[in-house]
Every structure is written in structure tokens, then in C-alpha cells.
Amino acid sequence: MDDSAHLAVIRLRIISPSNQAPYTLEELARLGGVSPALVQRYLDEGLLEAIAGNVRTSWFFDDSTLFELRKIQRLRRELGVNIAGVGVIRELQRQIDELKSELDASRQTRSR
């Protein structure tokens, strides 16, 4: 008997990541739900970085920048953290992430 006749075939939908990136400063602001002036301020404060371009009109951003922008907004809106505080928190969170992946890597090596 052909077993395959009894196996249900489930086709999963293929979803694609957004392919609108890179974004201009205005597009980034719109996707982040903030004003372009606020994005500009975060750039001036060093909280965000452009992936390309060295003058405002040629700046470009990707989804990593958008992710960062939304993180910043969440910390400000939900915890009332000020801009300087956001910078410190994000830096510490990045360091924790790095330490975690180093720890994972060394655990993997040890268990081998």
C-alpha cells in the first residue's frame, strides 16, 4: 500500500520580509511613528546611525535602524526614560546580548 496517500500535505505560506528598505529619514520617521525632527535629534545624540550617506539628504536607513528607533520610543514612552538614559540602557542591553552569545558559544564548545 502506498503510505504517502495517507499523509496530509500542509503547505505553509511563504512570507517575505519587507523589501522597502533602505529608507530615507522621512520614511524611517513615518514607520517609527515619530516626526523627522525627532529622528534627527536621535541621530545628533548618536542613538541612531545611518547605514549610508554623509549628508542629511543622502542618509539611508534599514530595518535594523527602524527596530532601534521603535526600541527607543518604547523605553521613552513606557518607562519615561530620557534621551541620555536611553543611550545608556541600549548600550547595556547590547553588552548583555554580546555576553549572552559569548556564554552560549562557550557552553556549546564545552559540551562538545
Binding site: P17, G33, A52, S64, F67, E78, Q93
Partner: protein, 344 residues
């Protein structure tokens, strides 16, 4: 409709007579502890964080607190509650905006408040505070939370692109009770009265060619459900490059190690090395030193802008541990005749 009573004082862990300062302190402390970006148990923390915010929303506002206190002290957390007769809810009343120093008033955008809250203060949410004259756009109120996850990608997939199944858990409104948490007189038995359930979705995600380690892929609208007609959040997947048996990753470059014999290092040789596109033959030039790196251009990892890193071939000179008679005499002859002195 009966809803579950919420003891906001208990949620914040303050006595009923607590001062505004004490309430703010308790809230700040708990909010820091349970903020989903900070807490270890993200899912549990999110529910707790919502609860804390709701409690603070009521207790930090003198009018709402007064209204709430009128209910009396005899209610227990989780008891079935109906608004008393003649209770007028505070729908549409103005609320204070941002604090005087221009900082944000803490406000948990995009979060559902409980039905208990809605039955007392329905529609009366705190206005978003202004910030230094830089207004935020309003469509973000009620927007669902972004969901984060990691996605493991092999080096071959990063180079060529692929399709990968992923599992995503996210909170969605409970379909059984329409997100209200109640079925008739009783708490919904599907969501346990919370109004939302965790749904696991399996998707196939297209990984574009050229992804880099740590890059975020955004899949629009696949995050947490929005509230009150708000848009759903996005799903952000962080690309993690998986370990490869043949290569180490060094920034944009791949590193592969080969061993050569001393005479190969001196005289030069051809060696086959693996690349992501299959093996290639490379030339080890005469006089290659131990730990020298040979560069195979353009065979590393794809980079932003379409360029590629290099494959670095690390050369290790291996010395034979044992030699036979004739080999020994050849080494001895070399030792006699060679002018090479590494310590000169």
C-alpha cells in the same frame, strides 16, 4: 456585565492611604522590573507590565483614584464585579497631559486595559504627553507590539538566500470570547478571563540572499495584535549565522585553516580549499610562513551593497613527529648545508 475586580493597590504593593509620591515610586520600580525589554521572562512580564500600568493610570490620577476608592475596601482581587447602580463612568473627561518638565508622561501605548478598567473609566485614557515640541504622530496609539525573534541561517543560505520555517508565538485576542475575557456571567474558559491567548504560527520566511549576522528582517504586520483598531505590530527576526564546520567568521571574511609540510611551505605548493561554492585550488607561494594568511578575494560573506568579503586561508606548518632513517639523513644534510638561522 460582570468583570473581575482589580485591586490596584495590591498590584502596586502600596497601602490604600499611600501618598502620590509612594505610588509613583512603587510604579517606577515595578515598571523597570517588568518592562518587556528588560525582564527575563518576556511573556509573563508583558501581562504584569500591563497590569502595573493600568493600576498606575488610576491611582496616579486624583479624580480616578477618588472614584475608585468609592468602591470601598472590601473588594478582593479577582472577585466578580459589577459597577454599582448610578455609577457614571468618566468617559470623555479630559485628563492631564505630559508632566511640566516636558518629559513623557508614562503611558503604555498599544496595550489593552482590562474590562474592569473599561467598565469604570472606559474611553478615558491619558492623553499622550508632548515632548520638547516634537509631537508624535497619533496613529501609533493602539498599535500592536513588535515581536522579536532569532533566525538561524547557514552560511550557504546567507549567500544564496533560502526559505525557512519559523515558529512565532504572539498574543492575539481570544476568539472564543471576542477578546472580552467573559462568556455570559463567567470568565471565558479558553483564555482564563484575560481576553487574549498565545497563538503559535508557523510560517515559511524567505531569507534574502546577502543577509549579514545581526541584521534584522522585518515582516510587517506579523507582531502582536493592535488594540482598538490599531495596526498589528511587526515581526523582527535577527539573523544569526550558524557555525560552519569548515569556516570561522571574521567580520566580512571567512577563515579556513590548512596544514602544510615544512618543504611545502619552503618550496610552495597547490592546495585544494573549500569555499561556499565548492572547493578551489590555491597556490601556497614559496617561503610561506607559519600562521601566514592567504587571501582568496571575493569568497567571503556577502556584504551590504553587493560586495563580498574574502576567504582567508590560515597556513599552519606541521612538523613530522617521527622520521625514518633516510628522512633523518636528509634533514641532517639540510642542517649542515643550510645558511638559515631563525635566531640571527
Amino acid at each position: 456585565m460582570a468583570v473581575k475586580f482589580r485591586d490596584y493597590y495590591e498590584v502596586l504593593g502600596v497601602p490604600r492611604g499611600a501618598s502620590e509620591d509612594d505610588i509613583r515610586k512603587a510604579f517606577r520600580k515595578l515598571a523597570r522590573q517588568y518592562h518587556p525589554d528588560v525582564a527575563k521572562d518576556k511573556k509573563g512580564a508583558e501581562d504584569k507590565f500591563k497590569e502595573i500600568n493600568e493600576a498606575y493610570e488610576v491611582l496616579s490620577d486624583p479624580e480616578k483614584r477618588k472614584k475608585y476608592d468609592q468602591l470601598g475596601a472590601n473588594w478582593k482581587q479577582g472577585a466578580e464585579f459589577r459597577p454599582p447602580p448610578g455609577w457614571q463612568n468618566m468617559r470623555g473627561q479630559p485628563f492631564k497631559g505630559g508632566q511640566a518638565d516636558g518629559d513623557f508622561e508614562t503611558h503604555f501605548g498599544g496595550t489593552g486595559f482590562s474590562d474592569f478598567f473599561e467598565s469604570l473609566f472606559g474611553g478615558a485614557r491619558r492623553q499622550r504627553g508632548g515632548f520638547g515640541g516634537l509631537a508624535e504622530d497619533e496613529p501609533f496609539a493602539g498599535r500592536g507590539r513588535d515581536v522579536e525573534g532569532d533566525i538561524m541561517v547557514t552560511l550557504e543560505e546567507a549567500l544564496r538566500g533560502s526559505v525557512r520555517p519559523i515558529n512565532v508565538q504572539r498574543g492575539v485576542p481570544c476568539e472564543h470570547c471576542g477578546g472580552s475575557g467573559m462568556r455570559g456571567q463567567h470568565a471565558c474558559n479558553v483564555c482564563g478571563g484575560t481576553g487574549h491567548v498565545t497563538k503559535a504560527d508557523t510560517y515559511q520566511v524567505r531569507i534574502p540572499a546577502g543577509v549579514t549576522d545581526g541584521q534584522r528582517l522585518r515582516i510587517a504586520g506579523r507582531g502582536g495584535a493592535g488594540m482598538g483598531g490599531g495596526a498589528a505590530g511587526d515581526l523582527f527576526l535577527r539573523v544569526r549565522l550558524a557555525k560552519h564546520p569548515d569556516f570561522e567568521i571574521d567580520g566580512p571574511n571567512l577563515v579556513h585553516e590548512i596544514e602544510v609540510a615544512p618543504w611545502e611551505a619552503v618550496l610552495g605548493t597547490q592546495v585544494r580549499v573549500p569555499t561556499l561554492e565548492g572547493p578551489v585550488s590555491i597556490k601556497v607561494p614559496p617561503g610561506t610562513q607559519n600562521e601566514q594568511r592567504l587571501r582568496v578575494r571575493g569568497r567571503g560573506l556577502p556584504q551590504r551593497g553587493g560586495t563580498r568579503g574574502d576567504l582567508l586561508v590560515g597556513v599552519r606548518v606541521e612538523v613530522p613527529k617521527e622520521v625514518n632513517e633516510s628522512e633523518r639523513s636528509l634533514w641532517e644534510q639540510l642542517a649542515r648545508e643550510s645558511k638559515f638561522n631563525p635566531r640571527s
